[in-house]
Amino acid sequence: MTDNERMIYLDYAASTPVDPGVLEAMTVAMTVDGNYANPSSTHSEGRESIELIARAAGQLAELLHTSPERLVWTSGATESDNLAILGAASYRKDRGRHLVTMRTEHKAVTDPFSELEKQGFDVTWLDPEADGRLDIDRFAGTLRDDTQLVSIMHINNETGVIQDIASLGELCRDRGIVFHVDAAQSCGKLPIDLDALPVDLMSMTAHKFYGPKGIGALYVADRKGVHVEPLLFGGGQQRRLRPGTLPTQQIVGFGATAGVALSRMAKDIAHLTALRDRFWSGIKKIPGVMINGSIDHSFPGIINVSIADIEGESLLLALEPLCVATGSACNSKSQEPSYVLRALGRSDELAQSAIRFSFGRPTTEAEVDTAIELYCSAVTKLRYLAPEHAA
């Protein structure tokens, strides 16, 4: 048996396998027998490519309860976040220089805010409560007359904690503040109704919910004062907001991914909830184990656990052949404790011991049971290896 055969993948928050139906749809837009033409071309083949893209936009719009015209295709959530934050701040810079976000956001959000700080914007960095959630009253207290942009993620990529974007967005809308939501972890996994939600900008990506890598989208609300300046120049595509040849096969894949998600979201959530609860029941008896974030307010596909007196890197190796994450996948080569977990008030040692288990459609109960066994035995081994603290 090879390592690959024994491997148990529990890192679906990092990326997911492409759904077979999605792959099939994509191939139609890639090969000589399909619609491979440049969608900017005016000939018949180009027009067919445009039709495929329009259909995909319709599928994603249906998932999100919005209009296809409100969607801008990007290369992924990182580009969408950059376009939303840098683009909106630039467009609205004369309306105010104050921006608000959380310390627990993904780097794709915190880094653009740091960049804006260097450019002279005043950024308020909010800490979460111990359960990972943002206190609504405390948030309201940070909003000022010159606040022009707020960015809060929907589902945290490390802890799975869900923020109350409806209440946060309402406060922003009342004050004419643009509200951006990073929905990289929630698009296609939780119901999102952009017709009803007070959200102005929303970032998404396909590969987190069984679509291809390399394709994302930014929702831009049709509302006065909501606009983003482009980051790229070089063509007239997408109303000049994001120029460049549209990758038909990627967009078709994203649309098909949205279609699959819409048809089975409730089933997916039930499946993930059963797996997450089974896993936590299996390990919660271990002394010193704790959940990072609130299990009552988190997406069931992600559970992040720390454990006392265990070194994180050794735990990760001892857990093989489980494929899990310490910190976020984008940050996991760093030996620094997760900044997200530190913001939750975890000590360096507890943050460093944290493992994110994330479940997906293909995850089975047997895999979860194996993960429980491996976690328990790894903890036993490493606790035997660990010495007492010096007197």
Binding site: S314, L317, L385, A386
Partner: protein, 128 residues
Amino acid sequence: MSTDPYSPRVRALFAQPAHAGTLEGPCRAVVDEQNLRIRLFATLENDRIAALRFKAWACPHVIAAAEAFCTEFEGRPMEELLDFSTSDLMQSLPVPVEKTGRILVLEDAVRSLGSVVRETLNPDSEED
């Protein structure tokens, strides 16, 4: 080029640390540095190291290095503890250069054990 941060030898030593544990007696070293905790234990027989054990709260490379040290030094003259250098282990395991600081904590622990052993055998001797 391998993308695996752990060599087969590091993996093997980490998976089966046969020298993990403790030994009774006065010959022990305690070092807590760089967010690591290392304990070394030794028993002696005729100026030679009869047995070595270790405990460690550390990354896999340090645990593997501690296991390799214990395996290689059992049976050797106790004086060699004082001259222990991690440079050979760094190359043979190997250990990535960014973890040099961590491995030097093991070196400190071994030399500390050497000093304790020498003091145990010659309680009246003075430090060099």
